[in-house]
Amino acid sequence: MSEYRTVVGLEVHVQLLTISKLFCGCSVTFGQPPNSAVCPVCLGMPGVLPVMNQKAFELALRAALALNCQIAPYTKWDRKNYYYPDLPKNFQISQYDLPFSFEGYLDIPASLDQPSKRVGLFRAHLEEDAGKSMHDESGQGGSTKVDLNRAGTPLLEIVSKPEIHSAEDARAYLEELRLLLKEAGISDCEMQEGSLRCDANVNIHIPQADGSFIATPIVEVKNLNSFRAVERSIRYEAMRQMEQYQKDGKKMGEVSKCTAGWDDARGVTIVQRRKEEASDYRYFPEPDLAPIRITAEMLERAKASLGELPHQARARLQADFGLGIYDADLLVRMGRAITAYFEKVVSAGADAKSACNWVANQVLTTLNESKSTIDQYPLTPGILAGLVVEVQKSGLNMQRAREVYGAMLADGVDAKTAIQKLGFVAVADEAALAEMIRKAMAANPKAVSDFKAGKIKAADSLKGAVMKETKGMAKADLLQKILLDELNKV
């Protein structure tokens, strides 16, 4: 099988973090009883009119700026007409030919093994969500039920260019997009609750001997319920298209675009329908809503509300704290609040690399276990910095340090007090350590001879014996130095 290049464009819908719907005052809180968060406007009753939610537009504008989009000075609403029981008006208010933002990009961040990659965006536009249809899946032919709580929820549709070239990159793109939107307070991006949804347009380019390539027909993959599903489905679909091409030789343009559903349990895409002709949505300008002029003041406000974006934070953490790509990324992914905590730990005197390790490991574990956020975390940055400093100074090993940390949380004391209370006094007396080493060497002559024969690892058992005797309190770097000295004396 020849090599091929995967080509993916992603269409992402995110629900904006508003209190109310896009065109009425109904609540958008997830999980309310069916059809309880509805009013005449979102039910599409006769005679009602939409009124735009200003907050939704502000959030959308903020997102467009964060995604480096160009902003239209003038934008309007359009009706997309189609019939479906969960669409009460039988048209969706969306944006067609004059979206409020277009031509942006998102950079997939660099990692240890690959540089940053830029993915272009066609557009980002605002629209209202439809309700939810719940079909009878028992096969008994029961009624389909419709819940209109979601109808009218503000959605931002972000359409990427087909510039994603692997399943892994598709996932990385989504992760970066989610991080960006969450950090800027635009969306909570919970795929489980449907506040982030993704469809993937996939095809492959098969290189030819003359340097050209053949493109296969584009398939739109739907029903993607997790980032993992996005990744797996793209990988599968690309493979399937290669096999299909080898069977029928069909190229792009020779068959119409079609839709496929992802079956997560079986790990396969299932081609659902071939669109014989493009659906005619009869788009036309929404006469019930005035067009919007985006003023310089609106843009300024949106810019001011952005805050530090993930790529800016990564660069700053590397430049200002000397962190590597990996650590900087680790912190940024934990969010602005935890990054800010980390910075305070460092300014309270801790070394950046150690502080990063502590925050990324112990602090995060504590937060996860107690299902709490950093602002509820009991240790102040100064107290945690004290621990980091003490551990380094005293040379406590990691296991002991964790015990100290546990005691600090349990008793609400600082590192020094906890160490005292636990009786952890690092043995740093050179003479005492040397005596213990000589004793261990005497008890284990084989280790000594093995070491002398070039088995460096043999020294570990001697170290272990000293640690055992000191209950793990021997100062590790000092022990190492003296051990080597003693072995060299033999």
Binding site: M45, V51, P88, K89, F91, F284, P287
Partner: protein, 490 residues
């Protein structure tokens, strides 16, 4: 049998109420009695709401008795076209598809009427979804012209016009998308005003064509017209197409003549098809204005021959989308045929809509469909702009443009119902006003030899209703036409 109180000019009725000479209860009972006597012949009302109307009248009378302030409408009963939503009171749009629809909310105009101590007394007949010019397209029987029961009252607000002309009620609201207030006012010998687009909230008016629809008053005198307009005009936060500008004091300004009034005459309003008796009445009206010192100027509306074609593209396109919500899924008629989703849509709409509504939905769907939208809908929007420019140019040199409201007086029942195009042409002089979004009024200006009323149309620039009413009042003040009542019931 005593003659109805509603025969009196509204100016007089309001005086009687305000002075305590009659009570609101007396007036409401008098209206209810005459409705029960006359409505079987005219069929202006689809339903009345006697209990609620009487209860409200008694409450207003009590307020008056105890010296509390009474709202502007002084306890006058008002008929509402049945496409204006009334909370708890069936609102059908004269369509089978909404035969049993009870809105859970009041239209903004209804709220405003109630808070101004006006009394919604019942709902009046119309052409189904306001589509028609004769009120023959009602699913619940046609309305008859009080001046000649063999003739139509005009449409689509034929029920409201006939209710006022037949002295069933002193005031009524209609809606005007292409002449649906002015043309029936003309045919019924009363006043009917279409306010500028955005002057009156459309919230709760079941939309036919969102960019053209406006609600407006019917009255037997201009005082009543100004009074009801005063009560319903103004910005509404529920309708973002309503204009956020303060409302002039129409009532106070009404009796102030306009010094050196400039009357515009457009030759396009005296085209072929204009009945000679109508033309004579208009020329006579012009003489009246001249006798008042008005200056007559020739103006040109070169694009008005394209108004009908433009209108039937814009209005039907919007209607095809606005009426999509009537699908039998959430409210309204649902076909009893057990069948697939698509069949349920088709059967519900097929059974629920009448032929004219179906014709317009099909026209509008076609005008918006892919491959045709540029040639039809988009082009119509361009011509609409030209028509507006024509009016704007004309209003540079004149205050009001006068002409006939309709090319003929009321025609016979069934005369044009089999010829849609002939029916459409009865709106030839009223449509431009809606396309341009300006203000227009029809006032009585004479009778044909058969004794049928003739209407004079005055049009003025957007938001100049005060000027329009004052110019009309100058005419009313020295002519007898508005005092004439139908001899049918005397």
């Amino acid at each position: 049998m005593s003659s109805p109180l509603a025969e009196r000019p509204v100016r007089e009725l309001k005086g009687l109420l305000d002075s305590g000479a009659i009570t609101s209860e007396t007036l409401v009972i008098d209206c209810l009695v005459h409705i029960s006597q006359r409505n079987p012949a005219i069929h202006a009302f689809l339903r009345v709401n006697p209990e609620a109307a009487l209860a409200q009248a008694k409450a207003i009378d009590l307020k008056r008795k105890t010296g509390q302030a009474i709202g502007l409408l002084s306890g006058i009963p008002i008929a509402l076209k049945d496409n204006i939503c009334t909370k708890g009171l069936t609102t059908t749009c004269s369509s089978k598809i909404l035969e049993h629809f009870i809105p859970p909310y009041n239209a903004t105009v209804v709220e405003k009427i109630i808070s101004a101590d006006g009394i919604p007394i019942g709902k009046t007949n119309l052409d189904e979804f306001a589509m028609g010019s004769s009120t023959e397209n009602s699913a619940f029987g046609s309305t008859r012209n009080p001046w000649d029961l063999d003739r139509i009252p005009g449409g689509s607000s034929g029920g409201s016009a006939a209710a006022v002309a037949g002295s069933l009620v002193p005031l009524a609201l209609g809606s005007d998308t292409g002449g649906s207030i002015r043309q029936p006012a003309s045919f019924c010998g009363i006043n009917g005003l279409k306010p500028s687009y955005g002057r009156v909230s459309r919230y709760g008016l079941v939309a036919f064509s969102s960019s053209l629809d406006q609600i407006g008053p019917f009255s037997n005198d201009l005082f009543g017209t100004a009074l009801l307009l005063q009560a319903i005009a103004g910005h509404d936060s529920k309708d973002t197409t309503s204009i956020n500008q303060s409302v002039p004091t129409y009532l106070e300004e009404l009796d102030q003549p306009i010094p050196s009034l400039r009357i515009g005459i457009a030759k396009e309003f005296f085209a072929t098809g204009l009945d000679s008796e109508v033309e004579k009445a208009i020329q006579d009206a012009l003489m009246v204005f001249k006798s008042l010192g008005a200056k007559v100027v020739d103006v040109s509306l070169p694009h008005s021959p394209h108004a009908i074609a433009t209108y039937y593209l814009v209005a039907t396109a919007e209607a095809s989308s606005n009426l999509a919500r009537f699908d039998g899924m959430h409210y309204g008629h649902r076909s009893k045929e057990k069948s697939s989703l698509i069949d349920t849509y088709c059967n519900s709409r097929g059974e629920g809509f009448g032929p004219e509504v179906k014709r317009r939905i099909m026209l509008g769907t076609y005008a918006l469909s892919s491959g045709y939208i540029d040639a039809y809908y988009a082009k119509a929007l361009g011509v609409r702009r030209l028509i507006l420019n024509d009016f704007n140019n004309a209003f540079e040199t004149c205050d009001v443009i006068i002409g006939p409201t309709a090319p003929t007086a009321a025609f016979k029942w069934g005369e044009k119902s089999s010829d849609p195009l002939a029916m459409y042409l009865s709106d030839i002089y009223t449509i431009g006003c809606n396309l341009a979004g300006i203000a227009g009024i029809s006032i009585p200006c004479g009778f044909t030899t058969k004794g049928l009323p003739i209407g004079l149309q005055l049009q003025s620039a957007s938001l100049t209703e005060s000027k329009l009413l004052r110019a009309a009042r100058m005419f009313e003040n020295i002519t007898p036409w508005h005092t004439k009542r139908s001899p049918t019931f005397s």
